[in-house]
């Protein structure tokens, strides 16, 4: 056990459990980039306790939601009875909305291109600046991308009725 004297710390204690030997002391940076001993803390307990607490909170919330809200289950699947409108799962409703405008451009080209640009993003944006204020154009483009996604999903979910016609949910439109 390293013995701790006030303000003093035995760095290389003579310890019977030690399975390594000190070969040499050299000057240089610590192999862990950008980290110095002063601004680090032990993973256990500091990080793991936090992760544990966050996990308990998430599990409690999930349990609470699951106790009060039941997963949907409609009638048995029926090939002859097409619901109108038939809707994809909510995260694909933006896509379905685009398909409604144009199958090829909306359903294939725009989503395909977006996905490609998303994956290639780190290779397209090659400036070293990380702060959003130093890469304004990209930040705006990405934010618009997110907003458009959300808006299309909301439209698809709540504002589309029979035949994919535009409906206003609070005027008697049905909500999926």
């Amino acid at each position: 056990m390293p013995k701790e004297v006030e303000g003093e710390y035995e760095v290389f204690p003579d310890n019977p459990h030690k399975t390594y030997g000190l070969m040499a002391v050299v000057k240089g940076k610590s192999p862990v980039v950008d980290k110095s001993p002063e601004d680090t803390v032990m993973t256990w307990p500091h990080l793991l306790i936090r992760e544990l607490v966050a996990s308990v909170v998430v599990m409690a919330v999930l349990l609470a939601i699951s106790l009060v809200l039941n997963a949907p289950l409609e009638e048995h699947a029926n090939l002859t009875e097409t619901p109108n409108p038939a809707k994809a799962p909510w995260y694909f409703l933006g896509l379905q909305e685009l398909v409604h405008y144009s199958a090829l451009i909306g359903g294939v080209i725009i989503p395909g291109l977006s996905l490609f640009l998303l994956a290639a993003l780190p290779y397209l944006d090659r400036t070293p600046d990380r702060a959003p204020s130093k890469r304004k154009l990209l930040t705006v483009v990405f934010t618009v991308f997110i907003i458009v996604n959300v808006v299309l999903i909301v439209i698809g979910s709540y504002f589309r009725g029979p035949g994919w016609s535009f409906i206003v949910p609070w005027r008697g439109g049905s909500v999926q």
Partner: protein, 243 residues
């Protein structure tokens, strides 16, 4: 108070049994704390020490970690669901009814699986946004962003394949609509759709394929990608510094 905690943890961790299980000294000393991490197969992906500012909640909002936790919860709730679920067009819907009315806590199990799945889609998306706005995809983390995009696709794929399994009207028509979008891809689309649903229409072929994708292929792929994702975080020097 801290003294009580200290004594308690010494009592729990300072004995031979603890030591034999964890191969580590009691984690009340820094040495014990280090050993608890790097002598543990599950924890050794963590560094022994982390940067203080990496702990800041308002930097990551725990979104990556919560996505991972939800994934674990989906596996934990998914396995017992598999005990009751039969992927046949005659029996699938009945399995759902059994879960609701016959199986103890069956409905709760199904609810948790369903809501965790929706939540995971949202947290993964928000996690991606966090990574973007903090510019954390920049060198040396470019490739981990790409791994992340694959994880996003896998998350959507897992959610989509699971959507069909209850075999109710909602499931059937959502997958019919969803897979028909795939067929708009010129040239490749129609055959991709045919292979995906095992026929021209959503039926027994589609149900079995989606079941296998949902319970075996995609979870396995996600586990492998997550392993790569976490490994890269470690190799890239931990998470990026707060701005």
């Amino acid at each position: 108070m801290t003294e009580i905690i200290r004594l308690l943890s010494r009592f729990i961790t300072g004995n031979r049994v603890w030591k034999s299980v964890f191969r580590a000294e009691s984690p009340v000393t820094e040495r014990g704390q280090s050993e608890s991490i790097f002598h543990n197969v599950w924890l050794h992906i963590y560094p022994v020490k982390v940067r203080k500012d990496a702990l800041r909640f308002t930097y990551t909002f725990c979104l990556g970690g919560v996505s991972f936790l939800l994934f674990l919860l989906l596996i934990i709730t998914g396995v017992p669901l598999m005990f009751y679920y039969v992927p046949s067009v005659e029996q699938a819907y009945g399995s759902m009814k059994d879960l609701e009315f016959v199986v103890s806590y069956g409905l709760l199990l199904r609810n948790m699986h369903r809501w965790a799945a929706h939540a995971m889609v949202i947290t993964v998306f928000l996690h991606m946004a966090r990574v973007f706005y903090t510019g954390s995809y920049k060198s040396p983390r470019e490739f981990n962003w790409v791994v992340g995009v694959f994880l996003l696709a896998l998350t959507l794929g897992l959610s989509f394949t699971g959507y069909l399994l209850p075999w109710d009207q909602l499931a059937f028509w959502a997958i019919t609509v969803g897979t028909s979008i795939a067929s708009y891809v010129p040239w490749l689309g129609p055959s991709f759709k045919y292979v995906l649903i095992g026929g021209n229409e959503v039926g027994q072929g589609a149900l079995l394929r989606f079941y296998v994708l949902h319970t075996v292929v995609l979870p396995l792929a996600a586990v492998l990608m997550m392993a790569a994702h976490f490994w890269r975080i470690r190799k890239d020097g931990g998470i990026s510094k707060p701005l």
